[in-house]
């Protein structure tokens, strides 16, 4: 626990602190760009990008190993990874534009083929006798253990720069996500913006390879935005929430992973992100499972109360135990089922309300079809006061002769 606290508070050494901060910056940038990609409905493109980094990574490693004897220089690996991911991205676009194959087939084939070729190159690396091949396998599932200070600094600075680029481009990105035509009328180059979005996604994927691993980095660009979607319907807050969730997930994941050996960073970051996603799914006040369950319960109670009161007004017996319980709790009936004074008053009120509703449906059938009634809403809450007054006037006129 002490180790966890000290790592959490960045007291576990300069390197660990640097790695954790770098991971958090990366998580924030990935969450932010992921939001735009999610809104553009192209989340799985990042899956193709991340898998397509492998051949470039391996080729860069081989070339550097042959030239210098050590293939682990992180900037060189990043350039290689970025180049082959860029090629993969171009191929996805090309297949989608040039042939009749759909984008999912293009993504899937690029992902599988690039990864397959990357594995071929990995076996080539294993047969090279440099003796320093260990560095490359950490890119598969991510590892911050034994990360050099220069590597951590590179990651942190690159994540910061790409985060700043996303901030600078936030307006055109948002516009293009929601309304391409309006965006182009406003003078935004849609194609260039799309390109910038995918380019930033690519850059962040490449930066994150070392931390999260190439199989799992895609999660950092999908899960936090998907979780943020539960909390808001507006794009700017969604970007901020996604970035915050991504930062927290990456930070906590990196901290936990620094505690012991068999704790792969990438897997932990993804699992923390998923935990945040689950919390959002359950507790979000807008569309979480808990909120909608509560809403359903209160609606059920309203229906039972109204039906019970109508039964009271008509003098019909009530058998349903839930209805009885609801009425009893409100003080509308006594324990033996007889209506109290308050209950009789409320019952009369409900009957008047129902009479108003049915008159409204008779007089204005079209408007009534649009009004949300469901048999529970009091009419004064659903309709303007003047219409209610008008209905009441009709009711008294109807009643007068009889």
């Amino acid at each position: 626990m002490d180790a966890f606290l000290s790592a959490l508070l960045l007291q576990a050494g300069y390197n660990t602190a640097l790695v954790t901060i770098g991971a958090a910056l990366l998580g924030a940038s990935a969450g932010a760009i992921g939001t735009f990609v999610l809104l553009r409905k192209r989340s799985l493109v990042s899956d193709a990008i991340s898998h397509a980094t492998l051949p470039g990574l391996a080729l860069a490693f081989i070339i550097m190993a042959l030239l210098t004897g050590d293939g682990r220089w992180i900037a060189g690996l990043m350039i290689g990874a970025g180049a082959s991911a860029g090629l993969g991205l171009v191929l996805v676009e090309w297949i989608g534009r040039r042939t009749r194959l759909t984008e999912d087939a293009a993504i899937g084939s690029v992902l599988a083929v690039f990864f397959g070729f990357g594995i071929v190159l990995l076996t080539v690396i294993q047969s090279l006798e440099t003796g320093r091949q260990a560095g490359i396998s950490s890119y598969l599932v991510g590892s911050t253990a034994g990360m050099l200070r220069s590597e951590a600094e590179t990651i942190a600075i690159a994540a910061l720069i790409s985060g700043a680029a996303i901030f600078a481009l936030r307006r055109p990105l948002t516009l293009v996500c929601f309304d391409q035509e309006y965006a182009s009328v406003r003078g935004i180059n849609v194609r260039a913006t799309d390109l910038a979005m995918m380019g930033l996604l690519l850059v962040i994927t490449v930066i994150g390879l070392k931390v999260a691993g190439l199989v799992l980095i895609v999660a950092l660009t999908i899960i936090p935005p998907a979780a943020a979607r539960f909390w808001t319907d507006r794009p700017e807050p969604m970007v901020i929430i996604a970035a915050a969730l991504g930062a927290v997930a990456a930070y906590l994941g990196a901290v936990i992973s620094s505690l012991d050996r068999g704790l792969p960073t990438g897997a932990l970051i993804v699992l923390v992100a998923f935990a945040l996603f689950l919390v959002s799914l359950l507790l979000s006040p807008r569309r979480g499972l808990l909120a909608s369950a509560l809403k359903r319960l209160s609606f059920q109670r309203e229906v039972h109360e109204r039906q019970g009161l109508m039964a009271l007004a008509r003098g019909e017996p009530i058998y349903d135990t839930f209805t009885l319980r609801v009425l009893k709790r409100k003080g509308f009936i006594r324990a033996d089922g007889v209506a109290t004074l308050a209950g009789r008053g409320a019952a009369a009120g409900v009957m008047l309300d129902e009479a108003r509703w049915s008159l409204y449906q008779k007089l204005f059938p079209d408007d009534a079809a649009n009004a949300a009634h469901h048999g529970v809403t009091p009419i004064a809450e659903a309709l303007p006061a003047d219409i209610v007054a008008e209905l009441d006037r009709h009711l008294t006129v109807q009643k007068a002769p009889s």
């Binding site: 042939t99 397959g116 990995l122």
Partner: protein
């Protein structure tokens, strides 16, 4: 040379071919239904299932592994449905959330548990070990009619042959329903062909094919074969029957050519050791798809809209 070929290369080559053909057969429908990435998701979520099965039984026997992988595929399918419905997120993102999480859980379990004594690690799950499935008893072509030697074949071979038969049988029997449901689900519904049931059955077949192939050859071939041969076949013809035939041809070609290139190619180039056969098979299937994108007679044309579960 020939006895060495039978002993070392025949079984892996056959297993690779069977796995490729099985995946390509169901892949045809996935590609047309715009569900290509389901194969990707299934291949990723098999990992935690396999690890949990190992932790429970303590062995790497095929039975528990297959059950574990199938169970986690079902869990993943349910989770995706739930997240899609509750969160109102697009299906692609819901899939991304679920399969990355399950894969991460698998990686963590694998790292935390003591699997050092058995051959079970992330790399193995990703690209299998096709080369190790050798047939020691088969010391010549004569062994093919020798029952004692045939009994020594790697168990993956008969298992994959069985799965291929099941998948081929499923497609033959439900051919009409599958095709109608793929191209016009509303019409299929109206004539009582039950497109929902057939599409769920198709997903089950995908899981069966993926899990059986996964055990033998790793997830990368599975993903490549679900998509590349059918996609390439789609660019060759406009008719469903010929498309399936083309995809089988491409799958066999990728498997055989890929295996040969991986096993012997580096030796021809003067290197001393071979490269990953699984990776090479995926690479060859990608090259075939690329050539079809460039020269396939039906590479342009109307994109078929068939997006439904």
């Amino acid at each position: 040379m020939s006895s060495e070929f039978v002993q070392l290369s025949l079984a892996p080559m056959l297993i690779g071919t069977l796995a490729s053909v099985t995946c390509a057969l169901v892949g045809n429908f996935l590609v047309l239904r715009r569900q290509s990435l389901i194969g990707d998701a299934v291949a990723h979520v098999a990992l935690p299932g396999i690890v949990v099965a190992f932790l429970i039984t303590g062995t790497v026997a095929a039975g528990p592994m297959l059950i574990g992988a199938a169970a986690s595929a079902v869990v993943a399918a349910l989770l995706i449905e739930l997240i899609r419905k509750v969160g109102r997120i697009e299906p692609g993102a819901a899939m991304g959330v679920v399969f990355t999480t399950l894969f991460a859980a698998g990686v963590l379990l694998l790292e935390r548990s003591d699997t050092s004594k058995v051959h079970l690690d992330v790399e193995h799950a990703l690209y299998g070990n096709l080369e190790s499935l050798i047939w020691l008893a088969g010391d010549g072509w004569g062994s093919l009619i020798d029952p004692a030697a045939l009994a020594e074949l790697p168990p993956q071979l008969p298992r994959l042959a069985l799965v291929l038969l099941v998948v081929a049988g499923f497609i033959t029997i439900f051919w009409k329903e599958l095709v109608i449901g793929t191209f016009d689900a509303a019409f299929a519904e109206s004539i009582g062909a039950r497109p929902t049931i057939t599409s769920y059955a198709l997903i089950v077949m995908v899981a069966v094919a993926a899990v059986a192939a996964f055990d033998a050859v790793g997830s990368i071939i599975v993903i490549a074969m679900f998509i590349c041969p059918p996609a390439a076949a789609r660019l060759m013809t406009d008719r469903m029957g010929p498309q399936i035939a083309w995809s089988v041809v491409f799958a066999v070609l990728s498997a055989v050519l890929g295996y040969v290139l991986a096993g012997y190619g580096p030796l021809w180039l003067g290197a001393r050791s071979s490269v990953s056969a699984a990776g090479m098979i995926a690479t060859v299937s990608g090259i075939i798809l690329f050539l079809c994108c460039l020269f396939g007679p039906r590479r342009r044309g109307v994109k078929v809209a068939a997006n439904r579960i």
